[in-house]
Point group: C2
């Protein structure tokens, strides 16, 4: 990440399994705001201020938190109009690292077209921050980045080889992403946790025409 | 690189365009040893000790050095029995970062099968260090890593998603690597320098049954 300055960039933060997929789903179901926390205790302390506390560490819901990291937890009427404090192993850390960018938006397959439309109209260069897994690259976030490159290819040029490789992988993956990702380290990790249903959902493009945008440390929907 | 400890690993250092391709070519033409230097001035000072000084910065031969970074400079009778001091933008820096590993060997398409045979028989876990370009990932080194994963797939398991993605890219690339890489940032950079011939040569597998191994900071052939 230190090789890619965020200044004067529009940053798309991506954590397909499952932080950014959860965030998009939550906004689609009426959440007022989501405040991302890199730190677990800072997130926990928000419960006293009336927030729903959400998040995971190592793929599992945090003890004492209201909600975990499955998008299916963010579809009920209980979240409408509420504020969420959110922390995850990778996704909220990626948002933290993106701070200082001109714009920060949340991307997932669930809002792929909404992100693409926004990027087509924005005036900045684009940096897609793939949260990965504890600093390492992963397939699902890379493939999402590749989907953006593919959709924007007639309008924008890649700045280095990473987007080119992501695009190539997406083109190969897109006909059946669930099958393509079955050897992904994260998919195997999630499968052990018994949440295969989440995987299929998080890989379904364009469920919600929603674009969460970070402003003053808080995500809201435009 | 800090996410992948080198201790107790066999490290394969890769800089296809062109440092490791040059090194393999030089050994195939009788060089006695190659001492890699991350620092330019330290490399330059070796000329007084009778070394051939070799290297590049930003793809161009260094002023005052004997040789640059084209494999075709390492095919003549002038290098047989000589010692080389070598510094490059990415390749020799990668060797420097790999120090502390159990074994460090030099990989390129030119000695692909020699590297593969060595890895099949070695007792350590394997880390392939792709030199990339100034810290960023590039296509050609990634595809070489993927070639190793493909050749070793019946014997070894990938530890994370990076080797899986490299393998997928190699499988797509292998039928015509020169064509596949024509949109690579490095190929475009080299093409501007007028060295297209190097590209084709560096992508030709199995020209030399040579395995350079680093010991006490010096590369020799087993």
């Amino acid at each position: 990440m230190h090789l890619y300055p965020v200044q004067d960039r529009t940053v798309v933060v991506v954590d397909i399994f499952r932080a950014t997929s959860c965030m998009v789903t939550a906004f689609a179901h009426g959440v007022e705001s989501i405040t991302p926390f890199a730190n677990l205790d800072a997130c926990r302390s928000m419960k006293a201020k009336g927030y729903i506390t959400s998040g995971e560490r190592d793929g599992k819901k945090v003890e004492g938190f209201d909600k975990g990291n499955s998008p299916f937890e963010y579809m009920g009427p209980d979240i409408a109009g509420r504020k969420i404090a959110f922390t995850t192993t990778n996704g909220t850390q990626a948002i933290e690292k993106a701070k200082g960018a001109s714009k920060i938006v949340v991307g997932s397959f669930l809002n792929l077209t909404a992100v693409t439309r926004y990027l087509l109209l924005n005036e900045h260069n684009i940096l897609v921050v793939c949260a990965g897994w504890k600093g390492k690259v992963n397939q699902e976030d890379t493939i999402f980045a590749g989907a953006l490159v593919e959709k924007l290819k007639d309008y924008l040029d890649p700045d280095c080889d990473a987007p080119v490789m992501a695009q190539r992988l997406y083109r190969e993956a897109r006909t059946d992403m669930v099958d393509y990702l079955k050897d992904s380290s994260h998919v195997r990790r999630l499968a052990r946790l018994g949440i295969q249903k989440d995987i299929g959902f998080c890989l379904t493009p364009d469920q919600y025409p929603i674009l969460p945008v970070l402003k003053d440390g808080i995500l809201t929907v435009r």
